[in-house]
Symmetry: C2
Subunit: 387 residues, 2 copies
């Protein structure tokens, strides 16, 4: 197990009607709120009206930044910073999924940065502080509600990059599983795939002796597998939605990764798909993952795949090592298919002629990952197999 | 899954040489430190000398409260508060195991309480604030280094009671597994049993649908089982000590219990043993646990024991339900025996004539637990079987 510093300062208010705690918790930071949200689903499902009522009843002033897109744009961040500066915003409340939350975080950090906010995305070391962030989560997926990271897309430069700073961790997040009842099938599936991918990125690691982290990762993977399909079949199954929601937050807040060398190569490969084609992040991850697994399987890594197959999928440990590994990979692919996610990049509109450019972009900072380090050629090979 | 509020504000600096972060983190709170420690093991293993060096090099003033006993006494708390008031202490640094940390916490809270500190133990609602607490952990057991609770013993009234307040959660805790290399076998074993008991108290619950919490609990139980005996055999096995140390903290910081109705009946029964006989807490827990399990096994609870047996001990799920349950309980008892812990209360000096009084004391606030609620007579029955 490697040395680590663990810090998860975000308070989580989890469960039905936890929005009742919103006003008192906002008021700890002030009365001027920037409300950040996405495409308007919160207007259709009643959350927006509920919020306005709470703001009015509690003398909370608010300004709005709606229309934040999936793969949130740096242009939205710029708009948000402008509102914060003009209106004297005390706290930014993101209501939505990871894109909305990520956008809010970079607005918060950009508020204190003297320059264009894209510079703090390309170079997180320039971040010094952030306005307080709070979130109301409406999609179980990115885990952004409980960590200090954010991913922002620049359509002009075709870049999708991660940034982060401790000050960007939400002060509190309201996780009400009923808010995810209306999430459409496609996004429920992509969200579950996103959670699973976050776990894979830290589970498949060369670090020895991080036993407790590995067992917890398996616990969270089993939860995704148990409830992902259930949430598709029964969108209003509270138990399924609650387990997925809490698992999403725990999967990427440091609990599984602290003490380990981590991977993040599938995410890096997917970021190029989203940056070039604006596809749904979780869908891209689910397509790439089994191909990445197959490509990474070798005599140095096989034991980790055996651990995965036996502990997560219950494959008989007496079987041949490679047989266990290949069965585990096949089960992973089958599960993503059960979620209704296609198996190939061409099915989501990715074209062969862009693969080379994307592979180059994905590796512009060097090789990806440590478990099985990937060169530009490796990434291209995986893209091609996945096409 | 039940509604919950999750908050774990303690920063954890985990790993070898993390003491290098001590001075800068203390100085965030001030320069006057009350150093709280136990029987002197930190003088024998060099930690004390290292601390003094760090204090002197960094112009940190310190006062000492040594000699804190296992099952820490309210009398030590009173002494500590006196020092804090006289010397203008800014932060309390507990160096030791759970007893030392618990003592420090109640000193911190007692500092702000206008009255005898035993009153804030019997009635936690009287706590309003605490001096900042920091810890350097030297024993993997109670998890006090990452939560806001404390257990204090009053030998005069023969009471051992839990208290707590959010302000008592340590600001930071330094967890260096090498500091536990010199923990004697008996306390390594009792510590592991204590961790396992914390997990059992929240795992065995009637709450439905807390799937992710249950899988994480099993992950932590497997870690204890995997490394408890290893740490006995190889006291300087870093991997074993690290996994036990981190598991101890995660077992009782809210991660496993939030969202569930919890039990805590074995702890309540054990607290009487410690209050009457001053035995090692973890030893008492390990003796009582299998008897409590046997007593709690019935047609309402058997499925939970099956879950435990199959998922933690790998018992074949095709077997008869009661057979699985009983095998799982037997394996639990055998594991505690492997740790060198006796199976009966009489072996640690408990006498038959005190059982009735202890059962009365244990249930003075009413029945214990929810999974299988225990009356005074139930507690007496368990004590008798365990004798």
């Amino acid at each position: 197990m490697l040395n680590f510093n663990y810090s998860v300062p975000t308070k989580v208010f989890f469960g039905k009607n936890k929005i009742d705690l919103l006003a008192e918790n906002i008021k700890k930071y002030g009365s001027n709120v920037l409300l950040v949200y996405g495409g308007g689903s919160i207007k259709r499902n009643g959350i927006y009206d509920n919020l306005i009522e709470i703001f009015n009843e509690n003398d909370i002033n608010f300004w709005e930044l709606g229309g934040v897109k999936p793969n949130p744009r740096i242009s939205s961040v710029r708009k948000g910073i402008e509102i914060c500066q003009e209106q004297g915003i005390d706290i930014i409340l993101a209501v939505g999924g990871g894109s909305t939350i990520d956008c809010a975080k970079v607005i918060g950090a950009g508020f204190y940065y003297n320059g264009d906010p894209w510079e703090i995305v390309t170079d997180p070391s320039k971040i010094e502080d952030s306005l307080p962030i709070a979130t109301i989560l409406t999609l179980a997926a990115t885990g952004s509600e409980m960590n200090a990271g954010a991913v922002i897309t620049n359509l002009e430069t075709k870049e999708k990059l991660g940034t982060g700073h401790p000050s960007m961790a939400p002060k509190f997040s309201i996780l009400d599983p009923t808010y995810t009842f209306t999430v459409p099938q496609k996004h429920t599936a992509a969200g579950t795939a996103d959670i699973m991918s976050h776990i894979f990125e830290v589970y498949f690691s060369k670090t020895k002796g991080a036993y407790v982290q590995n067992r917890m990762a398996e616990a969270l993977l089993k939860t995704c597998i148990n409830y992902g399909t259930k949430a598709l079949q029964e969108p209003e199954n509270y138990e399924a939605r609650a387990n997925l929601m809490w698992t999403a937050s725990l999967a990427i807040n440091g609990l599984l990764s602290d003490g380990k060398e981590t991977e993040w190569s599938v995410h890096a490969m997917e970021h190029e798909l989203s940056a070039f084609y604006d596809i749904t992040h979780g869908t891209g991850l689910a397509i790439l993952t089994p191909y990445w697994m197959e490509y990474s399987l070798n005599k140095k890594t096989v034991d980790k795949f055996v651990e995965y197959g036996v502990n997560v999928w219950g494959i008989n440990s007496d079987n041949d090592k490679y047989e266990i590994a290949q069965t585990a990979i096949e089960k992973t692919r089958e599960y993503f298919n059960l979620l209704g996610i296609p198996s190939n990049l061409s099915e989501v509109g990715i074209e062969a002629e862009k693969l080379k450019e994307m592979a180059k972009q994905a590796t512009r900072r060097g090789k990806l990952g440590n478990f099985k380090p990937l060169t530009k050629q490796d990434v291209l090979n995986i893209y091609k197999k996945a096409l």
